[in-house]
Symmetry: C2
């Protein structure tokens, strides 16, 4: 079985690690030979995800193709699918991870819990004053497509700011999603994997901490309440069936005073699931590959009472050299997962997993290793677990 | 950090899987582009381990080189080392894994427990009658170099057979090791990893089952007695220091009525340590890479009360296709590790690990998945655990 991967970032890199053990050969489509996965891949095609010739070459060389990211051209993919190439997830499912406006509309149509929203295509006049009257200030403006890790998301305080941001996006031909800024108590993520035959497995709902839209740490079980754990998994299962995803799907959730609200969807292995590499009987990467390759899904049992996963970012001074790696690996029980990237400030270089019986200890271990590698300890990290 | 690997079999393949997460780039020296590790490696040089030009190319492109197997030319390696290239383990240590006569002599000199033995270089006359009088019949004849998985090992019943086997080996210029055939109760393996700085970590001593010299299953903790566990680890630590190995070293041990006897040494990740991929905080592959790359060693805590590891062999009828893979992965809790090899009868294609609380259950899980993949269930497998 040969599987193609569109994109060659860290998710593709970690898919390759697990593909080897399953005997699955992979071909990655990399924008550059220096991409994290291209550095370790046996087979890489160099090309943009919007490059028809490169995509055809990839699809021709594999049985089925999956994704490292959602910055893809859905029309082009649908065209290739119509020609007989297989994609998992299919472009018709992937739409809801690519396009936030389509996602919000679908979820609203099915009564799933989301914040109040409205969609402004470039040809729909936007009036900050009336929108502000509906949603209150501040409100959230998102570009419907192309954003990730907080990019393409704007929180604006008044109609002038709103008009300016939407004007710029509309001028660039970008559809805009307006959302109420909902006061949140914490953030969770629900991770599931769906097979071609419709079977679904779910990992436990986890607590995530973001700063400026970027995930900094994931705690399992964290401070997730039982009711949120149950509701979060049910929501993720429902959406997976609704959209017909094949492979891993992550649902980012807000915990509010009124219950859970769905924030974002991702249809690929997700940062909130990196803990599964050391804390679950089957990692999200292995199950994604199993699903894509029409193999039975693996069990998602946690292998420890407490798991922490902390992202490593490049700091202001050099990090990620051999000395930093040695320092991080000197931390007992720290599992490093590096992405092969050179360090620069704010760049996500890897993550550390720690597993054990004591949530406080595993969190300390993971942060200890991450900071020894040179990752800055954020002042603003809210201590949501105590 | 860039590491070279001489040989591109399954051990190299599994080293690559863990190297990716550590951010270590690897280059493999493969005899063929179809070798298990060459199929997944980003960088491969095609050449025999005895090919000086290929070895120089490999050594020039990396900081340090390690090994997938011991079928190497020690003189050539020593030459390259003298030129400033680094090897881990160094050829001076590797000698004792390559040459059974040198190994036996060293261990005897240091009072370590081994069976009675004698060494016959090609120029030393061999007389079956007098040797038989010393060692009794049957006795064991081993070629001092080049054997593995039971190859190069002969059990002979009388002086005629002995004279014939030794005559053939001597004619081929091969030094011969004669050993008493010791009645064994069971077989164990002690696995350690030694760093450049001399620090050593040890995994628990495990029980192994061989048929015709080939490992079929590994059980942790198996039926290993406490005294053998303690003595086995002590022996492995002592040998690691004695030979100055860098990286993983496995010591195969016989349990006899008179205590432990050392059978073989391997200075690389070893079949008896594959269980560490799913049953230990740090796998043998990760710790081997850490040692080679001068990084701190990881902890070797077991992550489950019971672990079983069962090798998968090609059967008489087709095995290892997509259907067989799906059948094996349908076994709950089975962790498959495949080597990318096409199936043929008797060929080692992969292994299955299973972890849990119940030794009987994990063993059943591993055998279930291995046989579902098409691996024959051996009639002769001695049930040493009950």
């Amino acid at each position: 079985m040969k599987v193609g991967i569109i994109g060659a970032g860290q998710l593709a890199r970690m898919l390759l690690e697990d593909a080897s053990a399953l005997g699955i050969d992979c071909v990655v489509l990399a924008e550059s030979p220096d991409d994290g996965a291209a550095l370790v891949a046996h087979s890489a095609i160099i090309g943009a995800p919007s490059d028809r010739a490169a995509l055809e070459k990839l699809a021709d060389s594999v049985a089925i193709t999956t994704f490292d990211h959602e910055l893809v051209d859905l029309e082009l993919l649908a065209d290739l699918e119509a020609q007989g190439h297989q994609f998992a997830p299919s472009p018709s499912a992937l739409l809801y991870a690519v396009d936030k406006a389509a996602m919000r509309t679908l979820l609203a149509d099915h009564g799933l819990p989301i914040p109040p929203f409205d969609v402004f295509t470039p040809d729909r006049p936007f009036d900050g004053e009336s929108v502000g009257a509906n949603f209150g200030w501040p409100l959230v403006i998102k570009s419907a497509r192309g954003g990730y890790d907080g990019r393409g998301v704007f929180i604006v305080d008044n109609e002038n700011e709103a008009n300016a941001v939407v004007g710029d996006l509309h001028e660039a031909g970008i559809t805009v999603l307006i959302e109420a800024l909902v006061p949140i108590r914490s953030e969770l993520a629900a991770l599931v994997c769906r097979a071609h035959d419709g079977s679904i497995v779910a990992w436990p709902v986890v607590e995530t901490s973001q700063i400026a839209g970027v995930c900094r740490e994931v705690l399992v079980p964290g401070s997730v309440r039982d009711e949120d754990r149950i509701a979060g998994e049910a929501i993720a299962r429902q959406i997976a069936e609704l959209v017909g995803v094949v492979g891993v799907m992550a649902v980012e959730l807000f915990v509010t005073d009124e219950g859970l609200l769905i924030n974002e969807l991702a249809m690929r292995p997700h940062n909130s699931g990196h803990w599964t590499q050391n804390g679950s009987a089957t990692s999200q990467f292995e199950n994604h590959l199993r699903a894509v390759a029409s193999l039975p899904l693996g069990i998602t049992t946690t292998t420890a009472a407490a798991v922490a996963s902390v992202n490593i970012f490049g700091g202001d001074h050099p990090s990620g050299d051999d000395e930093a790696l040695a320092a991080a690996l000197s931390v007992t029980g720290a599992h490093l997962h590096l992405y092969g990237k050179s360090s620069r400030p704010g760049r996500k270089l890897g993550h550390v997993n720690a597993v054990g019986t004591d949530p406080v200890a595993v969190r300390a271990t993971a942060w200890d290793a991450a900071t020894k590698f040179g990752s800055p300890l954020p002042d603003a990290l809210e201590k949501r677990t105590s």
